[in-house]
């Protein structure tokens, strides 16, 4: 049985607690990196990370890309959407195909 975690600044993630997801508010990237490592080693299959935080701990997130668990998924925070999530999808298309043939138009 696995759990789901949400990681990011408090204002962006407190709502998820009502759904039964576990929220881990962090206030700076260093704390975020440490927390992410702890969650990845624990029993969490999905970790949602706010885009703003993810931009600062890209290296740590990339480490888990080739593992089946945890799935680290970017979500927009309260401060808005910086396009990191979408660009992540484009990046994986680019990695597979060689160039972005699906979404280069938009």
């Amino acid at each position: 049985m696995y759990k789901i975690a949400v990681l990011g600044d408090y204002d962006s993630i407190y709502g998820f607690a009502t759904l039964g997801l576990e929220t881990f508010p962090v206030s700076n990237p260093e704390q975020g990196a440490v927390q992410l490592k702890r969650l990845a080693e624990d029993n969490y299959a999905v970790i949602y990370v706010t885009e703003a935080l993810a931009a600062d701990i890209e290296k740590e997130i990339a480490k888990y890309k080739t593992q089946i668990r945890p799935a680290i998924i970017l979500i927009p925070g309260v401060s808005g959407n910086n396009g990191k999530g979408i660009s992540g999808v484009k990046k994986s298309v680019e990695q597979a195909v060689g160039s972005d043939i699906l979404f280069s138009g938009n």
Partner: protein
């Protein structure tokens, strides 16, 4: 084969021929694997993008609702209201094998079956906007989990496709041509050896006949 030296022997030739057969077979199989992976990946990537747009829009709307809710009540009340969540989500994770890539399949269970049972607070001290906010977030949850599943699959498939493509290219452009070159080199060398043996034998035969019959002396006589 300029770069590496091969022994021009029959044994080496058989070995190289076997290697070429294996390499061509592997190349064909890997190419098929790559094509199939690519087909699946493109479908998944399209779905991934659509889901992501939907989820991002949903979360954005929910966030706006939360901001409105927050504006209508004091921070303490809000914290207290959301302090003890009623709902709990647990995840069952199995694996599906797509062309030897394990991709995750998530199945989630909520603690209470009633999907309206998400409000962890009495309605007396909170604003109605908070209900909307919680509702909108809860509506987007199934999509978020689906997104997690598909996005992870996409990442895993992309990595596998990249690996397979490298292997296909290495076989196609390095291993197979090199082996063919080696086979060609050895068979030429062997043919050359055979010709030179033949010529030597003919020459020896000539000399022996000359010895026995003295053709040349008879010619001048």
């Amino acid at each position: 084969m300029a770069s590496t030296q091969v022994n021009p022997t029959r044994m080496e030739l058989t070995r190289l021929k076997k290697k070429l057969v294996t390499a061509s077979r592997g190349h064909k199989l890997l190419k098929d694997k790559r094509d199939e992976l690519m087909r699946q990946f493109l479908d998944l990537a399209r779905e991934n993008m659509a889901l992501r747009e939907k989820v991002e829009a949903g979360i954005k709307a929910a966030n706006t609702n939360f901001v409105i809710a927050k504006a209508g009540m004091s921070e303490q009340t809000l914290h207290t209201a959301l302090m003890a969540p009623k709902q709990e989500v647990s995840l069952e994770c199995s694996e599906r094998n797509v062309m030897s890539v394990d991709i995750p399949v998530f199945e989630y269970k909520t603690k209470s079956a009633d999907e309206n049972d998400i409000y962890s607070y009495g309605f007396a001290f909170t604003s109605g906007d908070l209900d909307d906010a919680v509702r909108s977030l809860s509506d987007i949850l199934p999509d978020m989990l689906k997104l997690a599943e598909i996005e992870k699959s996409c990442q895993l498939l992309a990595a596998e496709i990249e690996k397979t493509r490298r292997r296909v290219n290495a076989l196609e452009h390095v291993i197979i041509p090199e082996t063919q070159e080696g086979i060609k080199y050895i068979s030429m060398k062997l043919d050359e050896n055979e010709r030179s043996t033949q010529v030597r034998l003919m020459k020896v035969k000539d000399m022996m006949l000359e010895e026995a019959h003295h053709y040349k002396e008879k010619q001048f006589a």
